[in-house]
């Protein structure tokens, strides 16, 4: 039985819809004055973060707490990891403490997959290297469905640094499963080599893609990679691939703009676009907690996980 969430590619259409439908019901709970549910009482969720990510960690923490699980935060800084402990030893320690689920963020692609072979509990990938970030894709899909009412047949443009983006890969796989048509838009230097095998279209021309898109998802330009010469200058990138007011005007009236955060205002997205009512950026954060609650409930709430099917 599959009891982990490592990649959105492991989710069937039914799994993905079950997560979104569950999140839809849980969203109502977050509107009440008592936001807590007793469902995961007595279960322990460990947040194992080898990379800094305040928003993802807080989101998972809030989700687990709203389901009454006990949460242990473990960050690599100031822990035994900085003293040289291996991932495996860390995993075995957590195992001995009785973790029912481990939420892991790691700079190495594949770390959650390895971890899953060492622990008895469920492993939830909270971002591994340039590989995947499944809960981000799920919350994006959830945000799109809430705004536009459906996913089937939507045209979705994912724009920016696809090469280093785990969000892009998870989104392409998930949105394809859910029946949307994804187009990746990026300079050739920022597309991975094997992108031809992904279930999506590729374009180098943002202006051509925009008028046909129902959703434009901007990826963060990872400033730490700026000096690696993937593009000539920040200004040139911004002019060719940034979403500014003029480009925004070319979208059709119902189209929405998304960004997984944190944003570089003025770089990949202009402040005006980010703050427009057609931007879902703030909703995405709120929806993140709800979707992560749904994932934790479906993985830990029953005798066995309700998603993932047989391995």
């Amino acid at each position: 039985m599959k009891r982990h969430l490592i990649s959105t590619g492991d989710l069937t259409r039914d799994d993905a819809l079950l997560i979104l439908d569950t999140a839809e019901e849980l969203a109502r709970v977050s509107q009440r004055s008592i936001k807590k549910l007793p469902t995961l009482r007595g279960r322990t969720v460990v947040n194992l973060f080898f990379e800094d990510s305040t928003r993802t960690r807080i989101s998972f923490e809030a989700a687990a707490k709203r389901l009454s699980a006990d949460v242990i935060n473990f960050s690599a800084k100031g822990s035994s990891v900085s003293k040289g402990e291996s991932l495996k030893d860390t995993a075995l320690t957590l195992e001995a403490m009785g973790a029912d689920a481990v939420v892991i963020r790691h700079s190495a692609s594949g770390a959650p997959h390895r971890l899953a072979t060492w622990v008895r509990g469920s492993v939830v990938n909270a971002g591994d290297g340039t590989h995947e970030h499944p809960t981000q894709a799920l919350l994006d899909a959830f945000s799109i469905r809430r705004r536009l009412g459906r996913l089937e047949g939507l045209k979705i443009a994912v724009v920016g640094d696809v090469l280093h983006s785990r969000v892009a890969r998870s989104n392409v796989l998930l949105l394809h499963t859910l029946g949307a048509e994804v187009t990746l838009v990026a300079p050739p230097t920022l597309l991975p080599v094997a992108v031809g095998t992904w279930p999506c279209q590729i374009s180098y021309d943002l202006d051509a893609v925009l008028p046909k898109s129902d959703v434009v998802m901007m990826l963060r330009v990872q400033l730490e990679r700026m000096n690696a010469a993937y593009f000539p200058s920040a200004r040139e990138y911004s002019r060719r691939y940034g979403l500014d007011r003029d480009r925004f005007a070319r979208l059709h009236d119902d189209a929405i703009v998304m960004h997984p955060g944190p944003m570089n205002r003025g770089m990949e997205i202009s402040a005006e676009v980010a703050d427009s009512p057609r931007s879902t950026i703030v909703e995405q954060v709120a929806n993140g907690v709800t979707v992560r609650m749904a994932v934790l409930y479906l993985l830990l709430g029953g005798s066995e996980p309700a998603i993932g099917g047989a391995e």
């Binding site: 439908d21 569950t22 849980l26 109502r28 008592i34 469902t39 709430g301 029953g302 005798s303």
Partner: protein, 185 residues
């Protein structure tokens, strides 16, 4: 209606269900002095349907619009860990909530009482009713908790090996309560 392994027998047909709900509606009116500050909350999915039907009858008899809603109890169940996590039902509370009101919980079948126990917990998280009452279409006995119904459509003596299935027009295309006797497995 019966297949090779199971014997199914309809114990209530459409008109019986109709009469039972009419009686429950009258009893609620009587017991709550004209459904004063009553809120009907059904337990999804069929309890919610029944709650709407009872509210419809109360409106018909006395011209009072009783607030109706649904309260999902899945996250509060005590048997969650015995089965894979299941899909959630919808909780829909009336706009004025339940604070200070008499909540009548509505379910289709009352059996162990565990669903009602979960519903009481769920209710606790959405407000503080003045009183809580319970209406059920079928009471099939075998209680495992100290819970009883205030309004019962039909008391149905069953054995634990039997199953009671409620069909309703809105969800199943017909009205019937069926007793399914499972042969030795």
């Amino acid at each position: 209606m019966s297949d090779a392994r199971n014997q199914a027998r309809a114990v209530l047909e459409g008109p019986d269900i109709h009469r039972a709900l009419t009686r429950i509606a009258h009893e609620i009116l009587e017991r709550t002095r004209g459904a004063e500050s009553v809120v009907l909350l059904g337990i999804p999915t069929r309890g919610a349907t029944l709650a709407h039907r009872i509210a419809g009858r109360i409106a018909q008899f006395e011209g009072i619009k009783v607030p109706v809603g649904a309260i999902d109890v899945t996250m509060y169940r005590d048997d969650l860990r015995l089965r894979p996590a299941r899909p959630l039902g919808r909780t829909e509370l009336p706009p004025d909530g339940v604070d200070g009101r008499t909540v009548v919980l509505v379910d289709d079948v009352l059996y162990s009482g565990r669903t009602v126990r979960a519903a009481l917990d769920a209710l606790n998280d959405v407000g503080r009713p003045r009183a809580v009452q319970l209406a059920t279409l079928v009471d099939r006995g075998h209680r495992e908790l100290p819970i009883r119904a205030d309004y019962v459509g039909k008391n149905l003596p069953t054995s634990k090996s039997e199953k009671v299935k409620v069909f309703l027009e809105e969800t199943d295309g017909r009205d019937a309560v069926v007793l399914i006797k499972e042969d030795d497995r």
